[in-house]
């Protein structure tokens, strides 16, 4: 079972194909991806509340699609309301019931994770028992090191370092070694054949997850990179789906 732990739905501000839900389901079938966990581009780029609502409608009735609740650390109070709306006890109807994690994008919000807001959000997510996917890359604003204080303070919350640090993926690996609740998600423009192997050597295959960054990237890009990662069958099974199933509570259909 292949689970894409880092995907999106919605418009991108590049002249690329703007993939709809039917497009996404078609490419998942083509590539053998069984489940994709999506965040709304509208939510991470512009308005979290509006985007989450759009995502809830988009994934309703599609068992292959699950959602991240996107939050914006500049709007902490509203973000906590969004958590309750989509992850709280009242969120069992329709599309809302299909949210299984939280997405934070420090770069697009221009808000570092090692702030009181990042700490408060992580503490709040602990009550819902779901993972947080944090976008990480090389700049100071989005460094994977920024996630470490909140991870240490909330060891019961799984935090996934999205892109595992991107253009400084080796920093992502170093950070993940520092706290057992940190996970590495592999997709980015940087497809160094060594990086997944080194991630596995550092933290174990149980803490590495496959993601594609679709619909920003064609999923073929990340899938092709996994071919060159030199994984054993057991490692591959964990990374391509087993870990995500465990973390997000995904059952085989």
């Amino acid at each position: 079972m292949i689970v894409d732990a880092h995907a999106h739905i919605g418009k991108w501000y590049y002249p690329t194909a703007q993939l709809t839900v039917p497009d996404m389901l078609a490419y998942m079938t083509r590539y053998g991806i069984d489940v994709s966990i999506l965040s709304s581009t509208l939510a991470i780029v512009y308005d979290a509340r509006e985007g989450n609502q759009e995502l809830a409608q988009a994934i309703e009735g599609c068992p292959q699609l699950l959602g991240y609740v996107s939050v914006n650390l500049n709007y902490l109070e509203e973000s906590l309301e969004e958590l309750d709306r989509y992850l709280g006890s009242g969120a069992k109807q329709g599309g809302a019931a299909r949210f299984v994690g939280v997405k934070v994008h420090p770069l697009l919000a221009r808000h570092r994770y090692d702030t009181p807001e990042g700490m408060a959000l992580t503490r709040a997510v602990a009550a819902y028992g779901v993972p947080i996917l944090v976008h990480t890359f090389g700049s100071a604003l989005e460094s994977p090191w920024n996630v470490l204080p909140a991870a240490r303070a909330n060891p019961e919350v799984p935090i996934i370092l999205g892109h595992m640090g991107g253009d400084c993926w080796w920093e992502g690996i170093r950070v993940a070694r520092e706290s057992p609740n940190l996970y590495l998600e592999v997709c980015s423009t940087w497809t160094d054949p060594e990086k997944v192997r080194l991630a596995v050597a550092a933290v174990g295959a149980e803490r590495v997850l496959f993601g594609s960054d679709a619909t920003l990237f064609d999923a073929a890009y990340a899938l092709g990179a996994m071919e060159d990662a030199g994984l054993s069958a057991e490692e591959r099974a964990l990374i391509m789906g087993g870990n995500a199933r465990r973390l997000f509570g995904i059952k085989r259909s």
Binding site: T16, A17, D192, A220, L223, G224, D228
Partner: protein
């Protein structure tokens, strides 16, 4: 993986964008042996290979290393480079490699910290024109198109699809650039580019072994182009540009 199988019979695959040597900026095995094993694994026939030593440390030493590798491994096509930070001796170096049969040249502003409006670039460009070279550089499409406008040599541009809007605008303005596929991994980007400029000036590149050949080939397969276009992008166009035959 299914996406690679989708490539079908495409003739000889030639990779425009390979590097070998040592890489200090992160842990990576970019030895010639590793490059060849990746090529074998993915069915790549030949790879245009530049020395990392030439990019980062000493261009002449790197070029000598490249020539030696390519003598020992006929599947590697030698790529020359000039370090614009040094500049001194560039004409002699271009002449030396030209005499050794080197046709493709790469310059690396992204690693050496220079920009296309510098006089050093204009002088080296002129020398490459005189040598009948093909130039491969990465950069912002507008800046590269402006810098090479009217040049008497083919220029291949490496560009991330995040700069696709600028690339399309540059092509609308009539730029005759060729384009490397290396970072065109956005959905539908390759198909859009074929619509905008035809397929004859699009060339497959991977960045191996620093980057995954599987990723690069997967994106070509995903574009679902007609077989003859796919074959041209994966090898035929570069053979024509470099004036080399099909080695299969």
């Amino acid at each position: 993986m299914a996406q690679i199988d989708l490539l079908g019979d495409v003739g000889e695959i030639i990779d425009l964008d390979a590097v070998a040597g040592s890489w200090p900026q992160r842990r990576a095995d970019i030895s010639v042996g590793r490059l060849l094993s990746m090529m074998d694994r993915h069915g790549v026939g030949r790879a245009c290979t530049v020395s990392a030593r030439g990019i980062l440390y000493d261009d002449a030493e790197g070029n000598a290393e490249t020539l030696a590798w390519c003598r020992d491994n006929p599947r590697l096509i030698p790529v020359g480079t000039i370090d614009l930070r040094k500049f001194a001796g560039y004409r002699a170096e271009i002449a030396r490699l030209n005499a050794a049969g080197v046709r493709l040249w790469r310059l690396f502003p992204e690693h050496q910290g220079w920009t296309f409006e510098l006089a050093t670039f204009r002088r080296v460009l002129s020398a490459l024109e005189d040598a009948g070279a093909v130039l491969f550089v990465s950069g912002q499409p507008s800046a590269v198109a402006r810098a090479v406008a009217g040049a008497r040599l083919p220029v291949i541009l490496g560009v991330h699809f995040y700069q696709m809007a600028d690339l399309l605008a540059t092509l609308e303005e009539g730029a005759g650039l060729c384009i490397s596929t290396r970072l065109l991994h956005g959905p539908g980007v390759l198909g859009r580019l074929v619509q905008a400029m035809g397929h004859e000036r699009i060339v497959f590149g991977s960045g191996a072994p620093l980057a995954s050949l599987g990723s690069a080939l997967g994106c070509i397969a995903a574009a679902r182009l007609p077989a003859e276009q796919r074959a041209a992008i994966l090898g035929g166009n570069l053979r024509r540009l470099l004036g080399v035959g099909d080695d299969r």
